[in-house]
């Protein structure tokens, strides 16, 4: 949606939105090859493997195609720049803060991640671990993986509540995981005892906020993200903007992106949703 908006704004841009059969690197490479073959001007990719796409994307760049990654990144050799939805350290801090805010006296929290290979999840968790010192009394007791499958995430969440009867919060920085965990908490009758938080979409989480399984959660605006990625790709491929450390690249209504040493930049802060504003957003995204 955001990409369409950007395309409309720019006028001379056609968006091809496509994806592989399953979320494997090999599948994405097939898609990249098809895009190379069509001689597109730019590829904006959200990778499911940091490294495996590098050779394919390098080939795309060799053939004069602009490559940027967004959301879930590609290693620096494989793209010109990477657009983070938000700064990783901000997200890392945000997810633990969301949990800690509701635990003034400290408590046990557990992490429910997606797959063991999801780049962004793991970076956020890493960033989160760095700032743990700022939250005394909060203890991360376990990290489990729901593989972005509803049933596995559900089971993992149930397992967490059994293994740690005193668990106070589950942090799931994944949209599948957070929904499944909230459902598991409702089914276990632990609403009020265990707070589910993390990153999720308002449309999917509205039920959990309503039931009280989740007090609050955060997310950036995916529409803005698509918009920004499109704008960036346009700037690089059509306006000859160089992606280099320190560069500032405009992205329409979203201001501009400042690149760090890895040619990475962050879009904006995640936004927190709770009972007070969920109804307003649940029908938007």
């Amino acid at each position: 949606e955001g990409a369409e908006e950007a395309a409309a704004e720019l006028g001379d841009v056609e968006i091809i939105y496509t994806g592989p059969t399953d979320t494997t690197a090999e599948g994405q490479i097939e898609v990249i090859n098809a895009l190379i073959a069509q001689q597109v001007d730019a590829i904006a990719i959200s990778a499911n493997d940091t490294d495996a796409l590098v050779p394919a994307l390098q080939r795309a760049m060799q053939r004069g195609i602009t490559v940027i990654s967004w959301d879930s990144g590609v290693a620096p050799e494989g793209r010109q720049l990477h657009l983070n939805p938000s700064s990783n350290s901000l997200i890392g801090n945000m997810i633990i803060k969301l949990a800690a805010d509701h635990l003034p006296d400290g408590g046990e929290v557990a992490l429910l991640s997606a797959t063991t290979t999801s780049t962004n999840q793991n970076i956020w968790i890493e960033e989160m671990t760095k700032v743990m010192g700022n939250y005394p009394g909060i203890e991360v007791v376990a990290t489990v993986y729901g593989d972005d499958l509803a049933d596995k995430s559900y089971r993992e969440a149930t397992g967490l509540m059994q293994s740690y009867p005193d668990l106070d919060a589950i942090i799931a920085p994944t949209s599948v995981g957070i929904v499944a965990a909230a459902q598991a908490v409702v089914d276990a009758g632990k609403v009020g005892e265990v707070n589910v938080t993390g990153l999720g979409l308002p449309s999917e989480m509205a039920g959990a906020i309503e039931s009280g399984a989740s007090q609050s959660f955060a997310i950036w605006n995916p529409i803005d993200l698509g918009y920004s990625a499109t704008m960036l790709a346009y700037e690089l491929s059509q306006n000859g903007v160089e992606a280099a450390p320190g560069a500032e690249i405009p992205m329409g209504r979203m201001g501009s992106l400042t690149l760090d040493d890895n040619n990475e930049g962050a879009m904006a802060d995640p936004f927190v949703y709770d009972a007070s504003n969920i109804d307003q957003f649940k029908s938007i995204f």
């Binding site: 090859n33 098809a34 073959a37």
Partner: protein, 333 residues
Amino acid sequence: MTDTSVQARHVPDRLNTRAYRTFRSWEALLLAVAIAIFIINSFASPYFLSAWNLSDATFNFTEKAMIAFAMALLIISGEIDLSVASIIALASTAMGLALQYGAGTPELVVIGLTVGLLCGAFNAVFVTVLGLPSIVVTIGTMSLFRGISFIILGDDAFRGYPASFSWFGQGYIYWVFTVEMLLFVIIAVIYGVLLHKTNFGRAVYAIGNNPTGALFSGIRVQRVKFILFLLTGLMSGVAAVCLTSRLGSTRPSIATGMELEVVTMVVLGGVNILGGSGSIPGVVIAAFVMGLVTFGLGLLNVPGIVMSIFIGLLLIGVIALPRLWAMYAARRA
């Protein structure tokens, strides 16, 4: 003994029986499908008829096809190996591990192939020595092999393969012809000869049609099956080398779901999933068909999941249509 019996009847060598013709027509049919897809593709997308693009498209099937040839023999013999994709994961992980200890390209290749062989041997022991059904064993080892990769790698990845290593999956022999294509052709020829022109191939067919009868005929059934599992493991090792080289990194989730695509390719190639019949030329054409379909639809930017509908329909349709036609013809006659 000639005097008591009547004049020995002359039995001709061959009659072109219907079964024979049906067999012939399978490859013919498949070839027609492949050509049709090629033509449709070239009309549907202006980008299709380009040497470089077609060359890129071959990556869609070369690695799978390498395994498919060995798998074809295995399936003809009445067994199956669903763990091939997991063998790739384990072999790739082993290569990555060796890399950490400073292995160079030759060592990496040897390690990849060896691990493939060992995994094949592991399956073979369960199937031929313990006598368990291969579909079940390999459903187990499918989890086990990939599981070991996960234990070793966790959420990490091995990267930094030497530049010379990238030759296998990214190199070109001449102009647009890739190393993988060359390997594909060599392996196809080797397996074609092995299955159709040697005693070993004959034994494979005999076993697939009647394992007990083959045993009673003095064929070392378990040994042949053992070798077939080794070959399938080895080919998975080769595919692991190519794929790892192409991706330039290893993660435990590498090649997820590839086993079903390999089996699909083999079945599409006319190999009887129940064993006993099939041919390598059929599998070669099937590889092209699958590669062309995915690439052609990719050019039209059809999402992968919708593409899989086409593959599914192709799989059933290619078998169903001739039978429907025969039924229709029989009714009219």
